[in-house]
């Protein structure tokens, strides 16, 4: 029949992780929502990687305060001339450069915190779902207790107590999101543990860790990848909110939430100081969410 019939077979199956990743990307083409999401995320990833090359100014250099977007910097003894594409803030730092460098903060901390939260959540979920009984009771009640706190209150308590630093932000995110991840993993494990291939592994005397990690976990990856993508969005919001509350990374290093916080009192007179960091945060979160939607859409198809 048509070429479309054999498209799935054109890439040989199961030969190497790279090919499989290529296949996943090829599938993403079928969801335009997913493509938009991927484009947004990719845009910020490239920006973060190329920050030293594409940022026009030093992000922390105080040059000319209160400049509107498009204003020209004539240059001085230390810094060459250039244009403030997005204007400058109240102490004269180039907003475009701070956004570009700030993307590094978000794109390092959000994925790192999410991965760590996943490690903890997956371990808890596997144990609770596979062993059931008192292990499940203990871990599930623990998760219930953590989840019964408003998330923001949890963050404020943890960071106010331990101090604002990158490590503590990551710790707070692990603490607050791993119970949710645990619940998802537990639910998936409860279903998967009844499969015959798990029984087959049990009847050949495999140790429990092998069954959990090798037999069960890989089959839960579909829903987990979608959830991880959504959760990356939430973590991005969290990092932004913490910055805005003054609990983010300590100044002067650029941080999108912090940029909004520092200039919000001037938002009416100088909207560009607030609007551009807001757009940066929203576009990245939107990217993660659309990507998650696209992945889900593809995974639901035949």
């Amino acid at each position: 029949m048509s070429d479309a019939t054999t498209r799935d077979e054109t890439i040989p199956a199961g030969s190497g992780a790279l090919l499989r990743a290529l296949r996943a990307i090829a599938l993403l083409r079928e969801s335009w929502i997913g493509m938009i999401g991927a484009a947004l995320v990719l845009f910020w990833m490239v920006t973060a990687i190329l920050a030293p090359v594409i940022a026009p100014f030093e992000p922390n250099a105080t040059l000319m305060p209160f400049q509107k977007p498009g204003a020209v910097f004539p240059g001085n003894a230390d810094v060459a001339a250039g244009t403030f594409l997005l204007g400058t803030d109240h102490i004269g730092r180039d907003i475009a450069s701070r956004l570009i460098w700030g993307s590094r903060t978000v794109l390092v901390h959000a994925p790192f915190a999410t991965v760590c939260a996943y490690l903890v959540g997956i371990l808890m979920g596997l144990a609770a779902g596979y062993y059931r009984g008192w292990v499940d009771d203990l871990l599930s009640r623990l998760a219930d207790i953590i989840l019964s706190f408003p998330v923001l209150v949890l963050y404020v308590i943890i960071i106010a107590h331990f101090g604002a630093s990158a490590a503590n932000i990551v710790f707070a995110i692990i603490f607050a999101s791993s119970p949710g991840i645990m619940r998802i993993v537990r639910g998936l494990v409860l279903d998967l543990r009844n499969r015959d291939y798990v029984a087959a592994a049990q009847t050949r005397g495999e140790p429990a860790w092998w069954i959990m990690v090798v037999e069960i976990l890989p089959n839960a990856r579909g829903p987990l990848i979608v959830d991880a993508c959504l959760r990356l969005g939430y973590v991005t919001i969290t990092i932004g909110v913490l910055g805005f509350l003054g609990l983010g990374l300590p100044p002067p290093d650029p941080d999108w939430g912090g940029m909004i916080n520092e200039t919000r009192s001037m938002a009416l007179a100088f909207p560009h100081m607030v609007v551009f960091p807001c757009i940066a945060i929203s576009s990245l979160i939107l990217g993660f969410n659309l990507l998650a939607d696209g992945l889900r859409e593809i995974s639901l198809r035949d």
Binding site: M1, Q202, G205
Partner: protein, 695 residues
Amino acid sequence: MQLDESAPVLEIRDLNLSYYTRAGEIPAVIDFSLTVEKGESIGLVGESGCGKSTVAMAIMQYMGHNGAIKSGSIKFKGVELTTLGPDALRRLRGSEIAMIYQEPFAALNPSLTLGAQLVEVPMTHEGIGLGEARERALSVLTDVRLPDPERVMDAYPHQISGGQQQRVVIAMALLSNPALLLLDEPTTALDVTVEAGITKLIAELSEKYGTSQIYISHNLGLILEVCSRVFVMYSGEVVEEGSIAALFDRPRHPYTHGLFGCIALPTADKNAAPLRPIPGQLPLPHLRPAGCNFGPRCDHFVSGQCDQGVLSMQGVGDEASHRVRCVRWQSVVHDPESSHGAPQAPIDIGDTVLEVEHMQKYYEVRDRSLAALVSGQGVRWVKANEALDFDARRGETVAIVGESGCGKSTFAKVLMGLETATGGAVRHEGRDIGSIPVRERSARQIGALQMVFQNPFDTLNPSHTVGAQIARVIRKFGVETDPALVRQRVFQLLDTVKLPRDFFYRRPRQLSGGQKQRIGIARAFAGNPSMVIADEPVSALDVSVAAAVTELLTEIQRENETTLLFISHDLSVVRYLADRIVVMYLGQIMERGRTREIFEPPYHPYTEALLSAVPIADPDVRKREIVLEGNLPSVLDPPSGCPFSTRCPRKVGTICDDERPAVQLTDHGHAIACHIPLRELQEVPPVIEIPEAAE
């Protein structure tokens, strides 16, 4: 829309239907014609993917977003359905054309009472009031022989058994007195004794209401019992159609011949007359060959004749309705003898491998309700296995037969070490393993006792390649450790189960159900087991695939002199495979003996009912009809006497309710647990009569 009552109930002409998927257009039904007269019941038989369910969906005009009728017409009482608008269709569906699905629990809404779901049908279609609708519902519930219809009306679906649920679904379909009833595998999800009751009910009701039926099934035996005409479908096309008599006595199409060769009829025997699987596989819908779809798998294939052009249905001549889609039907002769494979020498039976002595497995159930606390009955015991006694010898096939909930799977779990026995002994190769969980067994012990699982779609881990999964087993059992040798051994096993060696690199989703089950067998035999437990290994597979897998299993067993413990509910497969049979009911052994003894009197009354319930696809075989009343009792609250006493048609009196029957032994070790003396059981006429002429 004006229905013409004088026109045929259903007239399908030259129907072509396609699905549009990511992979392009897939023709699902090709050149399909069918006429159903009033009161007639038509059978559609075929293996999965042959398009039989799609035909039903087309009649309902419900093909999902990606299905479309390309050409042809479907007329219901003279009204063309393919061009009918949604409003007119809604008036027809459920009132004139009703459908019964395979899984009753999925067809009923779990959050509404059955009454609410039943009265809805006439209230919507006929606009009658609630009171009248309730009256009607009650009378139909009585017709489908549900005990206590008033109570059923107020019950939720989960409060009644699967068989009762299917009866409610049938009542719902009959409520508006439809002219046409579509039944899509209505009894496949049910136990055999329940199936027998439902099948009989459907036949009686359609006679009473004058309803025409289209009965879709993969089971030729069932079709024989309920239909007057049959359509055999293969790969989207009807390959043969005709009356029951013509098609079962004088099948013309090679595929129909092939199907009969795949079924374990009473004349088949694993040594003298083995099954003969159809070679090859069903072609994928987008890779169908030119000419005859069955060509590549056909013994009578002639190049240049069978692989050209479009085949049409041709009349065979013995009767008007018998037609076949084969260009060579005149030169194809069906000889029942040749439909069997070559005879094999029987396996030598060796020493005892497995001894089960008074094995018990109880589960503790804690009731934490207030009532239980007050009455002091907080802990109850589920007796999943009670006093099991039997043995199995080297090279022998022992079958455990019973319906769901009889404890056969629990027994398998104890054997495999996933559970430990509560009492008694299970000796494998002389060692009591009943109380040793799998984690404490040695690798050799584990490897010596392996299992083939039921569900082919579940038996392999979808995340790992076939090769990696078999290799793991080989290393785990310490058969080989050197990577090159392990690989060599995997290749050997793939050869043994007759799969190409490049399956090593494949993932389970690239395999068909039959291929997956072959890998499951390869995995079970990886550790050179002395005994393999097969838990319904072929029940989820299509007829022709099941035959191939069954034959493969016996062949490997023959080569390795493995003991096979075959767990099944299907007595016809068991008769074919087993040397000895153990019949279980509610965790206890009702009867055990050699296969011939089980199929001949004396019978335990439960065995008798089981034998009668199994459909046999041979019109010459006569069966005595025994339909069991009532439901399987709950394992939490079993009868205190004989477990079968609540449903037994031969119950002798209160002794059955109060006293557990003693096991009566004949001279050859044939054991029956029943209060009726052996002498009386001996005089019971046989259930199945096979005419001598067939010998």
